[in-house]
Each structure stands twice: as structure tokens, then as C-alpha cells.
């Protein structure tokens, strides 16, 4: 049960491993916590969980302070260039992970969550793994030692009494309960964070604004302010939905029939209300996501025998029937700003369905409509339906785009080490121009480029005058900017994945030289 990061596994989730190892050791030492679970039964009923969770209504002070610090940090004008949404997302995700860890510590340190001697996550992080292990070893608490000997090889002294099944069950229960608690805390965290951003506004002195001008009513659009391609894409999607909606309403096309939506008594207004709430309801990503899940659940309930054959077409139909502005942007917002680790299972599925529906609409052209309907279309409608939006507007590569199967959230390092932030600053600076250059250079709407040229053109140095500050004369090969992102980093701080990246770059360079 003691997790040691494998050397050859670049993607090993160190934070989780630490957390899990730590969790098991510490739990034995918090008798107060164990007492709260009255019976020794290993499984928790829903009621028990609900009652436990209900007690958590606000963030404990220490955690709340973390949120404040993060927001203050965001407001510091320390980046030379405004961050775009994807970069912001990277910062948020890093913070979530940090918060996740901190709330775990908070729960274990202070069962009543009012303990003021809580140490901040930053402190722990800087002391790293050794800090955590030292702490547990140096403890004189016998209960802790006893339990750690059971779960790890870290036995400190001779024979230890075994834990009884009841005790083990208690541990399991506590672990489970704490997981729920942490989840709840994370929800509160998102809620508070976005509420606070709303309150303080997003103004930053010296015109080095990241989120835009002072905002009293912050909307999702503001977070995407520095990502014009998202806004444009969003606008285009909405335009298309409106046109499709009008075509449907004017009877030019039987959308129900076209999408082969099962003929059911859909309470569409009730269902689309969720989409509306997603966009105009509370700002926190989790709360927005809840609406998507509710929609998913209600559709599942109201349509009998629902496989995804029916589900997706119904969803598309609903979206077209009631156009909701900024629906695409809100979807992206959830994807970027919901804590990724918690965006799993059904949550992710419901979100993926919505994404798929929007992608379908985005890629819909008049050619795919029935022939009779094509004749009916007016000129401007035809123009809007001429090409898929994704061919006109390129979202940044880090974005999970329609025809891209890999999940790419952010090019920013998402580790938890605080030093990362220092590294980020320079990484941003050096790569930002390139990123913005990329955004502006929309791919032409006509024939897609052959992949070979595409690989180099958007990234290559050659066609980007912005990078002239780097000595072009020395170079014979185009150097990818992502290679440079590690330029100012200390070797000791490199993560395995980054080292692997460096090595692969090295190999590719050799290959390229060979082939010349």
C-alpha cells in the first residue's frame, strides 16, 4: 500500500500516491474521527454520507485563506502578457490539486475543522515527500505507529499487535467518508473562488489585466477575454444554432425527422431550462456541470429505453430548438475550470454528450441536410451552413477539438510544486507571442492542408517574425517553442515527463539531421 513512484512511469500521479500513503498512516491517529462512525460496518449508507456532508456548509478558515491567496495571486501583475483561458485553466487546475491536498490534511489534522494550527499546503509542498514522511515517523503517537506498521514496510520497532477487523473497517469508513468530505470541500472551493472573483472584480493595476476590466457581473465570457478564438467560435456556434432553429421553425426542414429523434412526448422546455441555467445560473464550474448532469438524468428518465442512439439526437434537437447563447463557451469553461480529477465517470459522460452534440452542430453543413431542405434555404442561411466552423476558426491546439482524439487541456505544467509558478512566468513570456500568433492565423476555409505542412507551419519559427529576438542566424532547424519552455528551468526541478520530452526532442533532432 506504500506507493513509490516508478522511475519509468512519467505519468505517475505523485500527488495521489503521497496522499494515499499518507492517508492510511494518519487515520489511525485520529480517534475522534473514528468515533464519529458508530458501527464497525465497512460500508456507508447514503444517509450517513449525506448527513456527514451536510455538516460542511462553508470552508474552514485555513482553506478559505488558500482561496483568497490564490485570487490575490491571480491579481498580481506578474505576467508580462495577459493569460489566455487555457493558461488560466492551468493555474486553476494546479490550485485545485493543491487545495485537494490541503483539505485532506485539514480533515486529518482537525476533525472538527476549526483547528487553527493547520499548516498551509505551500509549506508542505516545499518540504515535499520527505517532509511528510518525517512527520509521520517522528510522531510518538503509538496508535499511528501501530497502524503504519500494518500498511507499510516502515515498521519502526519489533512486534506490533495486529489491527482487528473492526479497526480496519473503521479506517476504510473514514477514508471513504473523508473522500466525500474532500469532494464537498472542493465544491465549496469552486463556489467560493468564483464568487470571490465576482466580488473583487478582476481589475489589475497597471493595465496588465488578465481577466479584463473591472467587472461587477463577471460572466464566463470574461475569462475567455484573452482567447478571442474561443469567443469567435462561440459566436459562430450560436449563430449556427439560431439559423438551424429558424429553419426548423419555418418548416423548411423537419428537424425531428432529420435527426431521427424518437417520437416521444418531450418536455423540451423543461429540459432546455437546464441548459439555460447552465449558462445563466451560478458561475462555479461545478454548479454549471450539475445542470448538465440534471439534464442527462432527466432525459434518461423521461425517455424510456434510451441508448445513446436516441440520446444524442434528442440532445441535438433540444439545443437547436432553444438556442442558448454562450452554450459553447460555457461547455469549454466547465472543461477548463472544473477540477479535472473530479471530471470523471458520469459527469464526464454527460459533458461529452453535450460536447458531441455541439460538435455535430458546428460541423453540420447544408450538404448533409435533406435535398428538399437544401432548396428551401435562403442565401445567408446557405452561407452560414457552408463550412464547419472548425474549418474557419482554429481553437488553440491545447484545446480538445472536434477531430482530435487526445485530451489536451493545457500546455502548462500542472505539478504541485510551488516553484512551478516561477517557471511558468518565464515559460509564458517566451511562448506567448507564438501562441497569439497561432490564434490569429486561421486556417483557410478551403481544402485542408496536407498534414506534413500543417505540422510545421503553425508552430514553426520560419513564418513568425515575432520570434526574431531569438538568434535566427544560428539555426538550421526550426525549433519548436515548446522546447524552449524548459529553457529557464533548473534541472533538479524537471519532472520525468519533461525529461522524457527533452530526450524525445533530442532523438527527433538526430533523426532530422540524419535525414538531411
Amino acid at each position: 500500500m506504500f506507493h513509490t513512484p516508478p522511475i519509468n512511469e512519467s505519468n505517475f500521479d505523485g500527488s495521489q500516491a503521497i496522499r494515499e500513503s499518507y492517508r492510511i498512516q494518519v487515520e489511525g491517529s485520529s480517534p475522534d474521527l473514528s468515533n464519529s462512525s458508530s458501527n464497525g460496518n465497512g460500508s456507508l449508507t447514503k444517509e450517513e454520507i449525506a448527513s456527514e456532508i451536510e455538516q460542511i456548509t462553508e470552508l474552514p478558515m485555513d482553506l478559505s485563506r488558500l482561496v483568497d491567496n490564490f485570487i490575490d495571486d491571480l491579481k498580481q501583475p506578474k505576467y508580462l502578457k495577459p493569460l489566455n483561458a487555457v493558461q488560466l485553466s492551468g493555474l486553476f487546475q494546479t490550485f485545485y490539486a493543491r487545495f485537494d491536498k490541503a483539505s485532506f490534511q485539514c480533515l486529518n489534522k482537525a476533525p472538527d475543522m476549526l483547528n487553527s494550527t493547520f499548516f498551509t499546503a505551500r509549506e508542505t509542498l516545499s518540504s515535499g515527500i520527505s517532509g511528510i514522511f518525517n512527520r509521520s515517523r517522528s510522531s510518538s503517537d503509538t496508535a499511528r505507529k501501530r497502524s503504519s506498521s500494518l500498511f507499510s514496510t516502515d515498521s519502526t520497532s519489533g512486534i506490533q499487535p495486529m489491527l482487528s477487523p473492526e479497526e480496519i473497517n473503521k479506517h476504510l469508513r473514514m477514508t471513504e467518508l473523508n473522500n466525500y468530505r474532500i469532494e464537498k470541500l472542493l465544491e465549496l472551493c469552486e463556489h467560493d473562488m468564483f464568487k470571490k472573483i465576482l466580488e473583487v472584480g478582476t481589475s489589475v493595476p497597471n493595465n496588465v489585466s488578465k481577466l479584463g476590466k473591472p467587472q461587477r457581473d463577471l460572466k464566463v465570457t470574461n475569462l475567455f477575454k484573452n482567447s478571442p478564438e474561443f469567443l469567435e467560435f462561440d459566436r459562430a456556434v450560436f449563430e449556427k444554432i439560431v439559423v438551424l432553429s429558424e429553419i426548423t421553425k419555418s418548416g423548411k426542414i423537419d428537424m425531428m425527422d432529420f435527426l431521427s429523434v424518437p417520437q416521444q412526448n418531450l418536455d423540451s422546455s423543461k429540459l432546455t431550462a437546464h441548459l439555460d441555467k447552465m449558462v445563466y445560473g451560478p458561475l462555479a464550474p461545478y454548479e454549471k456541470l450539475l445542470n448538465v448532469i440534471k439534464l442527462h438524468d432527466e432525459m434518461t428518465k423521461s425517455l424510456n429505453h434510451l441508448s445513446n442512439d436516441d440520446f444524442l439526437s434528442t440532445l441535438i434537437y433540444l439545443i437547436i430548438q432553444t438556442p442558448v447563447k454562450h452554450i459553447f463557451l460555457d461547455l469549454q469553461f466547465i472543461k477548463l475550470f472544473r477540477y479535472n480529477k473530479k471530471l470523471v465517470e458520469k459527469d464526464l459522460y454527460a459533458l461529452t454528450n453535450l460536447e458531441a452534440a455541439l460538435t455535430f452542430i458546428e460541423g453540420l453543413t447544408f450538404e448533409s441536410l435533406p435535398v428538399e431542405a437544401q432548396k428551401e434555404l435562403a442565401g445567408d442561411e446557405l452561407i452560414l451552413l457552408q463550412t464547419p466552423i472548425s474549418q474557419k476558426i482554429a481553437l488553440p491546439e491545447v484545446q480538445v477539438s472536434s477531430n482530435d482524439s487526445s485530451q489536451r487541456y493545457s500546455g502548462l505544467p500542472r505539478s504541485n510544486s510551488y516553484k512551478e509558478f516561477e517557471g511558468l512566468r518565464t515559460a509564458f513570456d517566451s511562448s506567448l507571442r507564438n501562441i497569439f500568433g497561432k490564434i490569429r492565423s486561421y486556417t483557410p476555409p478551403v481544402a485542408p492542408q496536407p498534414p506534413a505542412t500543417q505540422d510545421k507551419l503553425p508552430n514553426g519559427v520560419l513564418n513568425l517574425p515575432a520570434s526574431s529576438d531569438i538568434d535566427l542566424s544560428k539555426k538550421r532547424l526550426p525549433i519548436e517553442d515548446s522546447w524552449k519552455s524548459l529553457r529557464n528551468r533548473e534541472f533538479e526541478d524537471l519532472k520525468l515527463s519533461e525529461m522524457r520530452q527533452v530526450f524525445e526532442n533530442y532523438q527527433k533532432l538526430l533523426d532530422a539531421l540524419d535525414s538531411q
Binding site: S260, L306, S307, A356, S410, K508
Partner: protein, 215 residues
């Protein structure tokens, strides 16, 4: 205490109406009935299966089978550790489509994805209908492509559980857990060594997918 739960994302692919959801419903609730509508939707379901020391939790993602939605499939099979490619043994067209799915999965899905080819509606043949997809043909496809192969009847339940048990056995459990955490490791970004050109975009993708999703 030692039962560790491994989550496996399993995606269902196949033409519309080949019985994708029925197979899952049978597996999850065992309540397939011709005229009885199941009470739960089958779009997303989970089911735990105990396999020795391990518990596998299948997270089953249904996809829309209509041809027009085919291009959306990558969103669903992204990061999936297993796929069920389903066809109808009485519909040759559905088998052709299944071939396409297998090819696409090999090209685009996670590299170690476990694929099971499933010929469904065996009961119709047993009731005298004509078989249109030869068992041998499907078997040879499965052999060529390294797939698991089953013929099932969601209606009678025949072979349905074997499909999932087979997948469960073939999933490398140790890596499955890592995979569940790191997500898109096996996706396109990894295949950069196939050619010698400097593939700049690929390096980008890989770096980000490595640090990307850890769900």
C-alpha cells in the same frame, strides 16, 4: 482489504440497432425482455465485477450508432481502456462497419486498448433466421487484429457475461490503474517515432497529454 478497484472505461461501438445497449443492459441488470422497457437508460452505466483479488469497475460509455455521428466517436473512446465493437450476425453491413471501427480504434484510440468483437442476435439464428455473417469470417478478423471474439444473444443472455469477463482478464490490471490516471498516454502523440521527420506538433501533444488529464 486487498481488493483494489480498477476502473475501466469501456466504450460501445457499432451500427445503430445492433443491440449495443441491450448487451450492456443484460450485463448490468440481467433484465432483457422483448416487450418490457427497461427502467434505466443505458447511455452510461457502471458495473462491478470481482476477479480474484481485484474488483473491476466497468464504466460503460454508449455511443450513437448512426452513421452521421460516426465522426463524434473519438470523443467517446478517448482514454478508453476497452471497447466493444458490436455487429448483428444477420446484417452483413453491420459487420463491415465493425471492421471500420476496429481499424479506427487501432489507429486512434489508446494504444493498449482491449477490443472485443461481438456478434449479437445469435438467438434469431437459433430460431431459424439466416445467418449472414459467418463465424469464421469474424474469427479470422479477430485473429488478425488481436481481438477477443464472442457471439452473443442479449435476448437470451447467452455469452454476455463472458464478454466482460474476457475483457476483465485481458486488461493488464497494474497498468490499468495507471492508465486510468494518466488518460491519453496511448493516444496519437506517442506514435512519433514512426517516421523520421521532425514532428513538432506531436511533441506538443505528448507533453501536454502527459501532464494533462489524470482522471
Amino acid at each position: 482489504m486487498n481488493t483494489s478497484v480498477t476502473s475501466i472505461k469501456l466504450v460501445l461501438l457499432g451500427e445503430a440497432a445492433v443491440g449495443k445497449s441491450s448487451i450492456v443492459l443484460r450485463f448490468v441488470s440481467n433484465d432483457f425482455a422483448e416487450n418490457k422497457e427497461p427502467t434505466i437508460g443505458a447511455a452510461f452505466l457502471t458495473q462491478r465485477v470481482n476477479m480474484g483479488d481485484h474488483t473491476i469497475k466497468f464504466e460503460i460509455w454508449d455511443t450513437a450508432g448512426q452513421e452521421r455521428f460516426a465522426s463524434l466517436a473519438p470523443m467517446y473512446y478517448r482514454n478508453a481502456q476497452a471497447a466493444l465493437v458490436v455487429y448483428d450476425v444477420t446484417k452483413p453491413q453491420s459487420f463491415i462497419k465493425a471492421r471500420h471501427w476496429v481499424k479506427e480504434l487501432h489507429e486512434q484510440a489508446s494504444r493498449d486498448i482491449v477490443i472485443a468483437l461481438v456478434g449479437n442476435k445469435l438467438d434469431i439464428i437459433e430460431n431459424g433466421a439466416e445467418r449472414k455473417v459467418a463465424r469464421e469470417e469474424a474469427e479470422s478478423l479477430a485473429q488478425q487484429e488481436g481481438l477477443l471474439f464472442f457471439e452473443t444473444s442479449a435476448k437470451t443472455g447467452s455469452n454476455v457475461n463472458d464478454v466482460f469477463l474476457g475483457i476483465g482478464q485481458k486488461i493488464p490490471l497494474k497498468t490499468a490503474q495507471n492508465q486510468a490516471q494518466d488518460g491519453g498516454r496511448g493516444s496519437s502523440g506517442l506514435r512519433i517515432n514512426d517516421d523520421s521527420r521532425v514532428d513538432l506538433r506531436a511533441s506538443n501533444g505528448q507533453a501536454t497529454s502527459a501532464s494533462g488529464c489524470n482522471c
